[in-house]
């Protein structure tokens, strides 16, 4: 393999430590043809001859930025590697270095150089010394920083999530423990039925939170899957899972109505999550003075698919309106839920590239409107021909 000359700029200030620095580069001699630049004259003459790869390790004299500029004026494609323990990566990259490494990484120079050469001038090194993942360039740094920010955000959300979720999982459990304590302490005087009912209520709440967490995670993890759907079939299915909300005059089969006159394309799992949450909210926060009535509709509007869920329930107070879609936000009146339901709805709608809005009047009811991009409309005849 042809050896690429590597220019090592050690000291332009006649630094006494240059001999020591030089010694540190000797092990690289086998892999590269090393040319040491120790002063201004050597620099100028090497610039004139042409420089392909330069390693800047000087601590005094000319600044590395100035040096990089001068070399690149002459050899536009020169690779400039900065060895410094002080610069930060972003500054180094934006001010003209291709790579920043610290002094302890100098032993890995052959790897870095091979990788940079491979990207910059592939013809020079046909067989790079070591195959490695490419080192960072400006564009890659930008991308890394973006990713880093995203990760920080995700970490922050995860922290908050774990804190809130652990509380919401423990709260019903501690309630059950408290009830069991009471049951054991005074089983004789207390009506056990009441304690058992409350335990069941707590356990259902816990179960609900766990379901919500699973739905949240499923929405985050899985790809959108489009298939032809009918509103009625989805609702009939999900209503079975909401049986526990039934009581007295509240029968889901009569309370939940839908208009089901066309087949549309969407993601079944996600639509089920959205509708389950909205419908169960409508039932859970029903008005005590009347039988709940939930109407679900799906229709085309311009180039969108619109789904609405309207109820005659308690309604949402104006002061909560801006926050109902926040993670773990619970309004005073709606404290029976996990505080995740509407957050999951809004995240799921986002995943489908849609929008959700809500109109509500206290004591009259609420209507949630979801607008999704229309994928392709399939009419009734096509669907039945499938």
């Amino acid at each position: 393999m042809q050896s690429v000359p590597i220019h090592v700029i050690l000291s332009l200030a006649d630094d006494r430590s240059s001999e020591q620095l030089k010694a540190a580069f000797i092990p690289l001699n086998g892999a590269f043809e090393l040319k040491f630049i120790l002063n201004e004259d050597q620099l100028e003459s090497q610039i004139q001859t042409g420089i392909k790869v330069v390693v800047f390790a000087s601590t005094g004299g000319i600044s590395w930025q100035e040096c990089s500029r001068r070399i690149r004026n002459h050899s536009e494609n020169a690779i400039f590697i900065l060895i410094s323990d002080e610069e930060d990566l972003t500054t180094a990259i934006t001010q003209g270095a291709d790579l920043l490494i610290n002094s302890s990484q100098a032993v890995d120079l052959p790897i870095f150089i091979a990788s940079l050469l491979k990207k910059r001038i592939p013809a020079v090194v046909e067989n790079p010394i070591v195959e490695i993942t490419p080192v960072s360039t400006k564009a890659e740094i930008d991308e890394l920083q973006l990713k880093n920010k995203e990760l920080q955000k995700i970490n922050f959300e995860l922290d908050r999530f774990v804190y809130s979720a652990s509380h919401d999982l423990r709260a019903p459990l501690t309630s059950v423990l408290g009830l069991l304590y009471l049951l054991r302490e005074e089983a004789k005087e207390e009506e056990p039925q009441r304690l058992v009912d409350m335990m069941e209520e707590s356990i259902l709440k816990l179960d609900n939170t766990i379901r919500d967490i699973v739905a949240y995670s499923r929405n985050n993890r899985t790809e959108v899957q489009i298939e032809p759907l009918r509103l009625g079939l989805i609702i009939d299915d999900l209503v079975k899972g909401l049986k526990y909300l039934e009581s007295g005059d509240v029968k889901l089969s009569t309370c939940v109505r839908y208009e089901d006159d066309f087949v549309f394309l969407s993601d079944r799992t996600r639509l089920t999550i959205i509708l389950t949450n909205l419908i169960s909210n409508s039932i859970r926060y029903r008005h005590p003075a009347r039988t709940p009535d939930v109407v679900v509709k799906v229709y085309r509007e311009d180039s969108c698919l619109v789904i609405t869920v309207a109820d005659n329930g308690l309604g949402i107070n104006d002061q909560h309106m801006g926050k109902i879609f926040d993670m773990f936000y619970r309004t005073n009146d709606l404290s029976a839920g996990s505080g995740l339901g509407l957050y999951i709805v809004s995240e799921t709608v986002k995943k489908l590239d849609g929008k959700i809005e809500v109109k509500s009047k206290v004591n009259e009811g609420s209507i949630f409107k979801i607008v999704l991009p229309l994928i392709r409309e399939v009419n009734n005849n096509n669907a039945s021909a499938e």
């Binding site: 652990s166 509380h167 423990r170 459990l173 501690t174 309630s175 423990l177 408290g178 409350m198 707590s202």
Partner: protein, 129 residues
């Protein structure tokens, strides 16, 4: 067992309120128990106290409540006129096992103790041990 005159509960879960009342009654801690279901309501309770009213000796305070949580309550509590709050010590009562919550509670001058839920007679007895 030491007893006090008046205990106030701030707790949003109706089941937990039921448990707290039962356990406090069993412990013989006090004969008057009142309750609020949010932090805001608890602040209002103190603000509406008249000079001659009996002040709560202990406040059992939940952390996670809608509207105003336990810690936000403590900040507002601190701003109340001293004559309204000086007879009351706060016992934080929560299902939280978060170290940050525990430390925040411990470092608050109004807080007498942090009790992890569920409340039991033994835990109440330990308060005065």
């Amino acid at each position: 067992m030491k007893s006090v005159a008046f205990v106030l509960l701030a707790e949003d879960s109706s089941i937990d309120l039921f448990i707290h009342r039962k356990v406090i009654q069993q412990s013989g801690l006090c004969n008057r128990i009142e309750s609020c279901t949010t932090g805001k309501e608890a602040i209002l309770f103190f603000q509406n106290l008249k000079e001659d009213d009996l002040k709560p000796n202990l406040l059992f305070l939940d952390i996670r409540m809608p509207d105003m949580d336990g810690f936000e309550f403590l900040e507002e509590f601190d701003k109340l006129p001293p004559e309204l709050r000086r007879n009351t010590r706060v016992v934080m009562l929560s299902s939280s096992i978060d170290e940050t919550d525990l430390n925040r509670a411990r470092n608050n001058p109004h807080v007498l103790a942090f009790i992890p839920k569920p409340l039991t007679v033994e835990k109440i007895q330990e308060l005065f041990a």
